[in-house]
């Protein structure tokens, strides 16, 4: 398996809305993880299964470690869909704190109002 990240890049841009290099990269990682998840799980199972021969388990370990970094779930990071920022992204709205404030003040987020108590 080649170690090129380009293998996970689609020929045509499959994203819409705000688009950013880092956003596309994250999207590719998500796709890569989704596609290889059964394989990863199979290898993980083999590594942990003590009833399997040691050789098979070692082989599985090697194979799992040689899989591309993009197929790892830890590579996935939530990014703001409106600005691409990776920090302070609200899970509820999938946007950054500043985008949240702007959109909330503009009344674009249903039910969100300025609070005072």
């Amino acid at each position: 398996m080649s170690k090129m990240a380009s293998m996970f890049r689609p020929k045509k841009l499959d994203l819409s809305g705000f688009v950013n290099t880092r956003l596309i990269r994250d999207h590719n990682k998500r796709n890569a993880f989704e596609q290889t998840e059964p394989e990863r799980q199979a290898l993980r199972y083999m590594i942990r299964n003590t009833s399997l021969p040691q050789r098979v388990r070692a082989q599985a370990q090697l194979q799992l470690s040689q899989m591309h970094a993009y197929t790892r779930p830890t590579q996935i990071k939530n990014r703001c869909v409106a600005s691409g920022t990776a920090r302070a992204v609200f899970r509820d709205f999938r946007i950054n704190r500043f985008q949240f404030r702007m959109q909330a003040l503009a009344g674009e987020l249903p039910g969100v109002k300025k609070a005072s108590w």
Binding site: Q35, T36, P38, E39, A42, L43, M46, V56, Q59, Q63, A88, F90, D92, R97, F98, F100, R101, A104, G107, L109, P110, G111, V112, K113, K114, A115, S116
Partner: protein, 287 residues
């Protein structure tokens, strides 16, 4: 404001499928226009309360338009009076009397009158809960209006109903810095309050309950999400009926159960790594 989480949950009782705990399905988002039917909404919201005891008003022959605002109630009279005879007062009173008499003779259909009164309810005979409907919204008007609508619909489907019970509000608050970068000292608070109403159907026919839920989904109101828990009850000799239906169920499951198990040709000395490298896995990777 008009973007609710529409969540519909239908869980069956233990007698049906053994699935006791209700679980949420994926929330679907529905986008609707905020302006839609705002007019009619306010009309009902105000009218139901103010006209509760005013049965007399309903006898006046009114067009639908004039009902929408109490200020227009007298519009036909004031217009009619000058036409009849603007100079003489007795003539005018006669006209108003005539109109009053007309109001007493003619009336709105009962079903239309009922809209201005408190919703009618059926009496529950046993009080056995059959369906819990939860309505959620960010605005009081919408959820109140739709709860009222649901109760009226239940009456016409012959379903005894209790509620709407106002459930505790869900308050979510966020505090964010005002600036896009640093300056943590200046922040702003936002909140989202979800209002909930619970409507419970008691000892209704399961088919009628389904019809009621389908009707409410068909006429779903903007900005109001719905979630329903449905229970079905069986007679005491459930086991007998389950035994009777077992062969049928087994037959219907056969095509699915046939998919389980290992293929004989697959297990013949194949290495797991060969399987992982096989076309089926490779296919997925190259998608």
């Amino acid at each position: 404001m008009a973007d609710p989480w529409v969540v519909v949950v239908e869980s069956r009782g233990p007698a049906e499928g053994g699935q006791v705990s209700p679980h949420l399905s994926n929330p679907q988002k529905t986008h609707t226009k905020q302006t839609m039917r705002r007019q009619s909404l306010t009309m009902f919201a105000n009218a139901t309360r103010s006209l509760l005891g005013a049965g007399k008003h309903l006898r006046v022959p009114l067009s639908i338009r004039s009902l929408s605002s109490p200020s227009q109630l007298n519009a036909p009279e004031t217009k009619a009076a000058p036409q009849a005879n603007p100079t003489s007062a007795p003539e005018a009173t006669a006209t108003s009397e005539r109109l009053g008499a007309l109001g007493e003779n003619a009336r709105l259909p009962r079903s239309v009158q009922a809209v201005y009164l408190r919703p009618l309810r059926r009496k529950a005979e046993y009080g056995l809960p059959v369906c819990d409907l939860q309505l959620r919204s960010y605005s009081v008007e919408n959820v109140e209006f739709f709860a009222d609508f649901a109760i009226r619909a239940a009456y016409y489907l012959d379903l005894p109903v209790s509620g709407p019970v106002p459930l505790p509000r869900i308050v979510e608050r966020w505090t964010v810095p005002r600036s896009n970068f640093v300056h943590k000292k200046s922040q702003e608070n936002f909140e989202r309050i979800t209002l909930r109403r619970l409507i419970q159907i008691k000892d209704g026919n399961p088919q009628a309950v389904q019809a009621w839920l389908a009707f409410l989904r068909k006429h779903a109101f903007y900005g109001v999400g719905m979630k329903a828990n449905v229970w079905e009850h069986e007679s005491l000799d459930v086991s007998k009926s389950m035994d009777q239906s077992a062969p049928e169920i087994q037959k219907s499951l056969e095509p699915h159960l046939a998919q389980f198990g290992q293929r004989k040709d697959n297990s013949a000395g194949n290495n797991i790594f060969d399987i992982l490298d096989s076309d089926r896995f490779a296919e997925r990777k190259n998608v």
